[in-house]
Structure formats: C-alpha cells, structure tokens
C-alpha cells in the first residue's frame, strides 16, 4: 500500500504545516513513506508530490540524492559497517568482510531470506568506538567478530526487537506540537520585527 495510509496522510499534512513553505517537508515525508513501507515506492513519491505541490520528478530528484532512501525493498535489518579511516585503522574492513562471509552476500545486497542487507558505509560518527556498525541506524560500538555473530543471531531470533525496530523507523518518539503551545510558522514576506525585539531592545538586536 505504497501511498500514505489515512492516518499517515493526516500526519503528513501536520508535518507540512510545521514549515514556512511546504516543499521543506519533502525529506520528512520521504522518511514517513519509508517508515510505512520499509522503502520509498514510486507511488509514495507521487502522493508526496500531490501533498507538497511539486512534480513527482522533483520528489525523485531530492529522494535519490540521499543514501538513506531506498527505492527498492531492503532486508528487515540494514547492517551498515563503517569502513572510513578511523574504523579502517582498527579493523572496520575485516569486520565488513567477516559479515560478508557470515551472511554470504556482498555489500549492497540482501540475504535470500530477506532478513539482512549489508552496506559498506562512510563515517557514522562513532570514531572513538571503532570498529562499529549500525543496524537500522541503531549503534553498536567496538564490535569483535564474535560479538557481531551473536548480534546477528539475536536479530534473527528477534531478541533485539526492543533495541532495533524494523527498517525505516527512525525516531520511535515523534515531536508533538500542541496547537496552543505553538508559536507558528514564520512565512517569508509575512513577518515584521519580532515583538520581543521591539519591546526589549528598541534599536533591534543586530548586535
């Protein structure tokens, strides 16, 4: 069901409403689509195009620029091994190769059971914890080969569900902005000097 579900459509409109201009919601909506389906289908992009008021081609242009968006289904678990310099210096490549052997796939491909997709990725900001990897963007630091193996076993056995949600899920906590707490969007050309400047600092706050 690659278009947004009814409640995701509502959520999508709410997200669009947070931005001064609707197109700014493109990336969050693409995430939402990927969260719903595990990947970004063409129909989803068309739906997003309708909601945001751009052409599907524009949505695809943005979508394909960013690595996290997958345009075909990937495994339940996306295993990203960092091989960038800090990790490379401490065995990141060996970790990757170990997992290749263990899973029997090359980076970029998915195991036949559809469980694991392996990727050879750039720095994931855990350099002091090398070697490291993420599974569906959940971090695992300083991983020995044995630890990697037991991690895969756990994932297979579903013992990590609490830590590692299905691919596509980013924040399991969403930002909520209640209507009454909301300051509102600042639309270009529709804003004057902020009141707190005019009152607190008459000359304006360009200091």
């Amino acid at each position: 069901m690659p278009r947004f579900s009814a409640e995701n459509t509502i959520l999508a409109k709410e997200i669009i409403g947070r931005y001064p201009l609707p197109k700014s919601a493109l990336i969050p909506l693409l995430h939402l689509a990927q969260e719903q389906d595990g990947w970004v289908a063409d129909d989803a992009m068309e739906h997003i195009a309708e909601l945001v008021g751009v052409t599907p081609a524009e949505v695809m242009g943005t979508c394909t620029f960013y690595e996290m968006f997958k345009r075909e289904p990937v495994g339940e678990y996306l295993v990203n091994v960092c091989t960038n310099i800090s990790c490379m210096l401490l065995g990141g490549e060996e970790l990757l190769h170990h997992l290749e052997e263990r899973l029997g796939i090359r980076p970029g491909s998915t195991t036949s059971d559809g469980l694991f997709t392996l990727e050879d990725v750039e720095c994931i900001a855990a350099c002091t914890e090398a070697p490291c990897l993420t599974v569906n963007y959940r971090y695992f630091h300083k991983i020995s080969h044995d630890e990697a193996d037991s991690l895969l076993d756990d994932l297979k056995a579903g013992r990590r569900a609490h830590e590692v949600p299905k691919h596509g899920t980013l924040g399991r906590v969403r930002q909520q902005i209640s209507a009454d707490a909301r300051a509102g969007v600042a639309v270009p050309s529709e804003c004057s000097t902020p009141v707190w400047l005019t009152t607190d600092a008459p000359e304006g706050a360009d200091a």
């Binding site: 996290m68 900001a125 630091h141 707490a181």
Partner: protein
C-alpha cells in the same frame, strides 16, 4: 554498548569546568528533571532578563568560535544579518559527518535540553522567528532524545509560544537529514531544508546570514557552538574567557580516534592544551609499543600532521599557521604500521562518494583520484601515476596551497586533495612502491587487523 568517552582527564587547569559535557556523568542527563535540577534553562531565564542586545554582546565578548569546522566567531556572525529584514531563521547544524568527528551526536543524545536552551538563547538574541534543528538522519537515537526533550520543553512552556511567559515566541522544529555528508555545508544544509538536493550555493552572494533559508537572513551554527551558550550566559563572558587562549576561548570537545591506547572524546581547555597532551596525556599514547606515524588534526579534510607538530596547541591560529586546521575537533592517529597510501585512498574515497556532483572538478576529479589510487592499491600503479595524482589535485585546488584555493563552489573538492598532498610528500617512497618503484615497506600492513576487545573491557554488545 559502552563508551570510553568524555572522561575529563588531566588538563592544564585542574579546576577546569566541564562547560558542555558536565552532565554526561548522569545516566538521566537527557531528562528535563535532571536538566532543570542542574541549572538547566537558567541561562535562558537570565537571557530573557538581559534583553536580546545584551545577550548578543555577551556572546560577542566571549568570542565563542564556531565548532563546526570554519571556526568563525558566533557573535560576529549573528551581527551580519541585514537590519530590518524579517523573518530571520536559526538552523542548528547537527549533521556531524566529517570522518573522525564524534561530539555533536554525544551532545544531542546525552544532553538534548542543553542544545535546545542554547538554540533558544541564540534565537532570542538574533530575533529568529523559527528554529530548525537539522539532525543527521542516521542518528536515530539522537532523534528520539531530542524529540522527547522538545516534547517535555513544549509541555513546560520552555519552547513555542510566549516562552517562560515572556513575549519571546519561537518554535524549534526537529528536522531529519537522510544521509549526505555535503549537507553539513551550511548552504547545502539550507537547500536540503528547503526540500531540495543538498547542493551548496556560491558564497558570495549566498551567505546564509544575508540570503539563507528561503533567501531570508539565517544563522547556521553547529550543535557544540549552541551547547556553549547556556554556560556563557549563566556565568558571563568574563568567566568564559578566563579559559583558553587569545584566539580560542573556553573549552572544546576533541574526539581522538585511531591507534591510541584510550580513544575517546575529551572536553579540554581550548587553545592551551597541545596535541601531545591530548594524544599522550588523555589517550595514553600510541597503542602497544608502536610509534606515531601521522595524525589528522581536524577531521578528514585537514592536511596531516606528524611528530614535529605534537607541541602545537589546540588553537585555531597556531594550527592554521602550521598548515592545517582544527576543523571539527577530530584527531585521527595513525601509528607506524599504517599504510599511508591506503589511508589516503580511504579518505579520498570518502570525498569521491560524498561529492554532491555540482562542480565538474569535484564530481569528476575526486572519483578520478579515487580510481587511480584504487588501481595502485590493486597493484596496477604506473610510474606516471604520482605526477598525475598531483596534477589532478592541482586542477581541483590550484597550487595545492594552504588555506586552499579552489576551482569549486565549496571546499569538499579541495578536501580530497589534503590527504594526497600530505601523504605524497611525506611518504613518497610508499607511493613509489605502489607504482612499481620498489617493494612496499614490510612494516606497513594494508589493513587494520580484526578488533580484539582489550583485557577486561566490557563486551561491546
């Protein structure tokens, strides 16, 4: 999951306050309860008393340098917004992706309220009507912590309409990236936030402070930069400038990775601490009995340093003059077993993969460089390849100077030049070896070796 991170460690000043990592000791530092119990949002309260202009002046006086890489004084940048052009926006750069850099993620995961408080102080001073917190997409945990914190803060009337009952109103919107290093560059960040492909804009004319998000004045600041604000406002610029050196005040987080005994992220006094303190003091020196071969002082983009640079202080100007940069506070240490060509290639490959594709020299040049080096490593190097590498570098970054000249829009292209330019000069023999000019030194290993957890270290998983 364990982190050997952020132990304060010995510093030149024993009484050095942990200005931004102070709460890292608490397991629950990310909760609003703990935060408010530890002076949380006091800085914001005080700011609202002081008035926007005073806050701006205080930050200027603190001469707080940006922590995102360029190291530009935050207070000064805030002043660049053209007067009477509204709305203004604040965009927090949490896209941390520079290889070797690991600090913003910690600040976002461990102490999200501190970041929100800092952001609000900035928005208040500059008069930003809306704040966007652009967090790197891969950092799901940070997303959750910030979303949680924002929800708590909205609940408590600390964000949104009439903050703390004042007239100051500003939404803070959590925005997710989606995996593109270049989006860390501020104009690309803005393009991305507008829903476009993250391709940088030319500066000039598109300096964000003048023509940023939706062509409106926009302040882009790094997460760590923002995290400093609460402390500065609480304790004043004077207290802040009491630490650090002439051009580099306060404290700063450094992530030391690679071949050291105790890799980690350390908040140390800015400007006075030296690389030696960091690598041999905090990190306990090079692993095993090995010796230092080279280290990258400021993230993958920075030219390499060696033995003779160890006593340079972690100070912007000093490092610039020595021909590199402090960049994003990422120190990557390589010991004598490191294959210089392989290491350089790995950095080049990163930039080749991350080029946005806008500028011909970067799009074509970086991947050409990567292909050549890959070929060398595969054993098909040709004698002329070294000269070719250098000449291509020169076409991306004319005369391979420092600070770099560029034929490109943004510095990413030239960044790919740094490792080659460094390694080719210092380790020419290794390059020649790969180009049929002798054997590869036996001392170097082409790979890092499988990771074995040190004795008694808690399991990684």
């Amino acid at each position: 999951m364990t982190d050997t991170t952020t132990s304060p460690g010995a510093t030149s000043k024993p009484d050095l306050p942990m200005m931004i990592t102070g709460r890292f000791g608490y397991e629950d530092a990310h909760t609003i309860e703990r935060f408010q119990a530890t002076e949380g949002y006091d800085g914001l309260r005080k700011a609202l008393q002081m008035g926007p202009e005073a806050v701006g002046n205080e930050v200027k006086a603190a001469s707080l340098l940006g922590r995102g890489g360029a190291g530009f004084p935050a207070g000064v940048k805030w002043g660049f917004c053209p007067p009477e052009v509204w709305p203004r926006y604040l965009v927090i750069n949490g896209d941390e992706s520079e290889p070797g850099t690991y600090k913003d993620r910690l600040l976002m995961e461990r102490d999200p309220h501190q970041l929100i408080e800092g952001a609000l102080i900035c928005a208040y001073a500059v008069g930003c009507a809306q704040t966007f917190l652009y967090v790197r997409g891969e950092m799901a945990h940070a997303q959750e912590r910030i979303a949680q914190a924002l929800n708590e803060a909205y609940e408590a009337g600390l964000v949104g309409k009439n903050i703390l009952g004042s007239e100051f109103s500003c939404d803070v919107i959590l925005h997710w990236g989606a995996g593109a290093y270049i989006v860390g560059e501020e104009t690309a960040l803005i393009e991305s936030l507008e829903g476009n492909r993250g391709m940088p804009r030319l500066k000039p004319p598109y300096f964000p402070a003048a023509k940023g998000l939706y062509m409106q004045p926009t302040i882009v600041n790094n997460v760590e930069t923002m995290a400093n604000l609460p402390w500065i406002i609480r304790n004043g610029a004077e207290a802040y400038t009491a630490f650090g050196a002439e051009n580099s005040r306060g404290t700063r987080m450094f992530a030391v990775s690679g071949h050291v005994k105790k890799p980690g992220v350390y908040e140390v006094e800015f400007g006075t601490t030296t690389f030696r303190d960091l690598i041999y003091g905090h990190c306990g020196g090079i692993r095993g009995t090995n010796t230092l071969k080279a280290f990258i002082p400021g993230g993958a983009s920075a030219p390499w340093f060696y033995e003779e640079h160890l006593d340079i202080p972690l100070e912007k100007v000093a490092v610039d003059q020595a021909g590199s940069m402090l960049g994003s506070g990422a120190v990557i240490v390589m010991d004598d077993t490191t294959d210089a060509v392989k290491a350089a290639w790995r950095v080049v490959r990163f930039f080749a993969r991350e080029s946005c594709g806008k500028c011909t020299p970067c799009r074509e040049g970086t991947s050409w460089l990567e292909k050549i080096m890959r070929r060398m490593l595969d054993g098909h190097g040709r004698p002329e390849d070294i000269a070719l590498l250098v000449d291509l570098c020169d076409n991306i970054s004319p005369s391979i100077a420092w600070p770099p000249k560029q034929t490109t829009i943004c510095p990413l292209g030239p960044s790919a030049v740094s490792p080659i330019a460094s390694a080719v000069v210092r380790f020419k023999d290794e390059f020649q070896a790969y180009c049929g000019g002798g054997d590869i030194p036996t001392s170097v290993t082409i790979n890092g070796g499988a990771y074995v957890p040190p004795e008694g270290a808690p399991a990684g998983v």
